[in-house]
Amino acid sequence: MPEREYDLVVIGAGPGGYVCAIRAAQLGLSVAVVEREAPGGVCLNIGCIPSKALIHQASLFEDGRAALEAAGAKVDLAGFDYAKPWKKSRDAADRLSKGVRFLLKKNKIEYIEGEAALSGPGKVKVSGAAAAAPESISAKAIVVATGSRPKELPSFPFDEKTVLSSTGFLLSRDLPRRLAILGAGAIGMETAFVADAFGVEVTVVELMDRILPIEDGESAAIVASAFAKRGVKLLTGMAAQGFERKGEGLELRLKAKDGAESQLVADGVLVSVGRSPNTKGLGLEEVGVRLEKGFVAVGDYQESSVSGIYAIGDIVSTPLLAHVASKEGEIAAERIAQVIKGSPPPAERRVDPLLVPSAVYCEPELGSFGLAEEKAKAEGRTVGVARFPYVGVGKAVATGVPEGQAKIVYDPRTRAILGATIVGAGATELVHELLLAARSELLLDDVADMIHAHPTLSELLMEGARAGLGRAIHI
C-alpha cells in the first residue's frame, strides 16, 4: 500500500512508544506504531521483564535451598538445568509482548512491522514491512522512541557467545562456569546475582571506586558487603584492557588505578558498561533534528528542534529507564493531542529528574530517588539524614531479612523529603511511599505520623521519618 495518513506515528513500540500510542489513542488521535522487532521493546523482551523473571527464580532457588537445609532437610541439586528457569523468563517476555500487541489492537492503533525512517517533515518511510502495510506514512506529529542498545567496548567486541551483552546473556539458555562482568551498575549487579545464585563463579570489574556508582555510596557499600559475603569477587577501581582466548576460556588483562596489572580467567564476559541511544539511520539529522552527544535534544513536552517531531525514552538524555520513557510518552501524547485537538495540556512539561525512582533488583534490593547525601554535600547544601535499619522492624526479623536500611535525606528547616535510598528486602517497592510523599510535598512528620500496619516492612519508612524527628521507637 503506498501511503496512509495518521494524526500521530510512533517509531518504536517499547515502554515509551506503546504507552505514548495508547495515551494518544485514548485522547482520540489516529495512531500508527512502527516496530522492527517485537512489541514491548528491550524492556519486555530482552531487559527488565526476563531479567526479573530470572532474578525471582534465582532468589527462590537460593532461599528455597537455604530454608530446606535450615529445616534439616537434605537437598540434592542433581538434575538442575538452567534452561528451565531460562524458559520461564522467555515465556514471561512472550506473554507480555503479546499483551502489548493486544493493548495496541484494543485501542485501535495500527501496528506496522518494519523499519521506519523520517523522510521529511510529517513523513515516515517504512521498509521491510508486510505487503499490506503502507510504505510511506504522513502524520501531523511524529514521536521517535527507538530506545537504546548495549554499549560496546572496542577491546571487547560482542560475539554473544563468550563476550556477551545483556541481550546475549538473557537470550542464552546456558550459563558459563566462570563469568566476568565488566561494569557494576544495575545490569551488572543484577546479572551477578542471578549467575552467582545458580552456581556460577562471578567476578565483577568496575572502573570506578565503588559498585553502583550513581547510587548513594553508603547504601552501595551495604550491597557490596552482601555480595562479598556470598562470594562474588568485586574488583573496583580496575580497568579491563582486553583479553586473549586460552583454550576453552578467556584471559582478561586488568589494570588497577596504581598501575598494577593482573589477569582474570573466565569462560564468559558480560559487558554492562551502559547503553547507547539508537539515533542513527533514522534520518533525524537530515530533517533538521538536533542531536547532542548522540541523544536527541528536546525542550518542553519532549519536542525536538523540529516542530512536530518529538523524542522520548532512551534517545533523550534523561535517565535511561523504562518508567521515564513511559512518562515522557504520556507527556508527548497529551501535548500532541492538545496541539491537534485542543485537549487539556499535560500536567507536567517534562520529567523532574529528582522525582524519578531508580531500582536495582539484586539481593539486597536497592530503591532510591532524589538528592543523595554526597551530592547535597558536594553542592554545599545543608541537609539532614535520617537512617533506620531493617533489624529494628519486626517483620524483617521474623521473615529473615534483617539486613539493610532506609536512609532519608531531608531539609532540616522545612523537614521536606529531598531523597531516599532503601537497601534491603522489598526496597524497590517500599521506596514509592517516600516518593509519593516527596512529590506531594509531604513532610517527615506526615510519614512519621501515618499509622503503618504492624508487622510490615513499611514500618521501616515510618521509623525512618521518626528518626529524622528524633523520635524513632524501635532503636
Binding site: D300, R349, L354, A416, L442, L443, D445
Partner: protein, 457 residues
C-alpha cells in the same frame, strides 16, 4: 408552608451573584430585615436581607456557589417542616452555574478577619489548614451543614507549602495554587515571595499592589525561581467584579467612538496651593481632590461634558458627580463624589477617602460607584508620564493624569527654567463631545489647574 427563597437583584446591573457567606445556619430562625447571607456581585459585596421572618430549612446554594437572579437559593418555612420536595425541585431548576466557585471570592478574602498567624499555622503543621475553622468567623462554632462542597477560606495546600509560607512570612490565603485542583504547592509560595506579594502588601493599600488592571496575587507569579522548571500556565476563575469590569469597559470601548486630547500643564501653582492648604492640617488633602474640584468647575463652564449618549436623546446632568478610579488588589473601582460643584475641596476629599476606605474594607454599594458623569484617573504614582483611558459609562469623558515631573521649559521672556509639568489626556465620546468642544473644555480646565484662583471668579 415551606417556600423557596430566590436570589434577588441587589443592584440594577446584577444578573447573578456568588454567595460568599451564609449568616444563618440551617434550622435557625430569622426576622424580616436580618442578613441571611453575603452576596458578591457586580463590583460589591452586599448583604441579602430577609424579606420576611421564617426558619431557614435548607440552603440550596452552598457558600461559594453562584445563583442567577430568580434562582432559588434556600428553602424557608416553619420550624420542623420538610424542605425535601421543594429543595429537590429547586435543585433541578437551578441554573447550571450553581457549582461552587473554584477559588475563594476575592472580596471574601479581603473581608476575612485577620488570622492569628504564627500560632495557628505552627500548631497545624500536620493538619490540613483547610479544615481549621476560620478564626473570628461569627459561626465558627456552629456545626457545618454545608457538606463537602463548601469551600473554605483557605485554599488547599501541601504541608511543605505551609512550612515554606511560614518561613517566608507569606499569607497562604493570598496565593493561588498551581498544583492538582488548585493546591498551593511550594513553587507557588516561592513565586509569591519572589514577586513581592507578601502578606503585608495588601494591607498597605490597594493602590500599592498593582496597576488598574490589578489581578491580585495570581499574576504576581511571573519570573519566580522554581525548583522544578517553569511553572505551568494557569486558568484563573473570573470573579464577579472582574466580569463586570470586562463587560462595562468592552462595551464602552467598542460602542463609544473615543478620541483623545492632550495638554501639558505647569503643575507648580496647584502643588503650591495644596501645600498651603495642607499646612497645619492633620490629614493632608489629596491632590486628586483638588483636581476633581477644578474639573467640576470646568464642567460648570462647559455643561455638555457632563452628559450621556442615550441614542435618541442626550442626557445632560445637573449634578456634577465625578468618579475617581481606584485600584484594589481584586480589581478597579470608581467611587463617586456627588455634586462636586457645590462642595469644597475638603468635603470632596473627605467623601472620597471614606469611600476608598470602605471599598478596601468590604466593597461599595452600587449607589456609591454608579452614575459618574465624569471620571478622573491618575497613574502618576506609578511613574506613568501620560496615558489614555477608557471612558467610564455613563459618562462621556475621562481625564487621565500622569506624574508631575520636573522638566525644562521656555518662559514667556525667552529664558529657560524648570517646572513641575503634568500631562493631561482627555478621552471623549465623539457622539456627545466634538473635538473643538472637548478642546474648549480642556483649555478651561488647564487654565483652572494652572491658576486655581480663577475658579473663585
Amino acid at each position: 408552608m415551606a417556600e423557596t427563597l430566590l436570589m434577588m437583584a441587589l443592584s440594577p446591573t446584577m444578573s447573578q451573584g456568588t454567595i460568599t457567606k451564609w449568616k444563618v445556619a440551617e434550622g435557625a430562625a430569622f426576622t424580616a430585615g436580618s442578613v441571611l447571607c453575603e452576596v458578591e456581585t457586580d463590583k460589591a459585596s452586599m448583604d441579602y436581607e430577609a424579606p420576611k421572618g421564617a426558619v431557614l430549612l435548607k440552603r440550596i446554594v452552598a457558600e461559594g456557589g453562584k445563583a442567577a437572579v430568580g434562582d432559588p437559593i434556600a428553602v424557608i418555612g416553619k420550624a420542623g417542616e420538610d424542605p425535601g420536595p421543594l429543595a429537590a425541585m429547586a435543585e433541578t431548576m437551578a441554573s447550571p452555574s450553581v457549582p461552587a466557585a473554584v477559588a475563594v471570592a476575592p472580596s471574601a478574602v479581603e473581608t476575612a478577619p485577620a488570622m492569628p498567624r504564627a500560632p495557628s499555622f505552627a500548631s497545624a503543621a500536620s493538619v490540613p489548614v483547610a479544615a481549621a475553622p476560620m478564626a473570628g468567623a461569627p459561626d465558627a462554632a456552629a456545626p457545618n451543614l454545608d457538606g463537602p462542597s463548601a469551600p473554605s477560606s483557605y485554599p488547599p495546600s501541601s504541608p511543605l507549602a505551609r512550612a515554606v509560607a511560614r518561613e517566608l512570612g507569606i499569607d497562604i490565603r493570598k496565593v493561588r495554587g498551581s498544583g492538582p485542583n488548585g493546591r498551593v504547592v511550594e513553587r507557588d509560595i516561592r513565586s509569591a515571595a519572589a514577586g513581592g506579594f507578601a502578606a503585608g502588601s495588601a494591607a498597605a493599600g490597594g493602590l500599592a499592589t498593582g496597576g488598574l488592571g490589578a489581578r491580585g496575587p495570581a499574576v504576581a507569579q511571573g519570573s519566580a525561581a522554581s525548583s522544578s522548571g517553569p511553572a505551568p500556565d494557569r486558568r484563573l476563575p473570573v470573579s464577579g467584579k472582574r466580569a463586570v469590569i470586562a463587560k462595562r469597559l468592552s462595551e464602552s470601548f467598542y460602542t463609544a467612538p473615543h478620541f483623545y486630547l492632550k495638554r501639558r500643564i505647569d503643575a507648580g501653582p496647584l502643588m503650591a496651593l495644596r501645600e498651603t492648604a495642607n499646612a497645619g492640617r492633620d490629614k493632608p488633602l489629596s491632590l486628586n481632590a483638588f483636581i476633581v474640584k477644578l474639573a467640576a468647575e470646568a464642567i460648570v463652564r462647559h455643561p455638555y461634558v457632563n452628559s450621556t449618549w442615550e441614542g435618541a436623546t442626550i442626557l445632560e446632568r445637573s449634578s456634577i458627580d465625578i468618579g475617581l478610579a481606584v485600584a484594589l488588589p481584586d480589581g478597579l473601582i470608581t467611587p463617586v463624589a456627588r455634586d462636586c460643584a457645590r462642595k469644597g475641596v475638603a468635603a470632596i476629599d473627605e467623601e472620597l477617602s471614606a469611600l476608598i476606605a470602605k471599598a478596601k474594607e468590604r466593597g461599595l454599594a452600587p449607589s456609591e460607584y454608579e452614575g459618574a458623569g465624569f471620571t478622573v484617573t491618575n497613574l502618576g504614582s506609578f511613574g506613568v508620564e501620560e496615558f489614555t483611558a477608557i471612558i467610564n459609562p455613563p459618562g462621556s469623558a475621562i481625564l487621565a493624569l500622569g506624574a508631575a515631573l520636573k522638566e525644562p521649559f521656555v518662559g514667556g521672556d525667552g529664558t529657560i527654567g524648570v517646572r513641575r509639568a503634568m500631562a493631561l489626556t482627555l478621552g471623549c465620546d465623539h457622539r456627545v463631545i466634538d473635538g473643538a468642544a472637548g478642546a474648549r473644555f480642556l483649555a478651561t480646565l488647564v487654565s483652572l489647574l494652572e491658576e486655581p484662583g480663577k475658579a473663585l471668579l
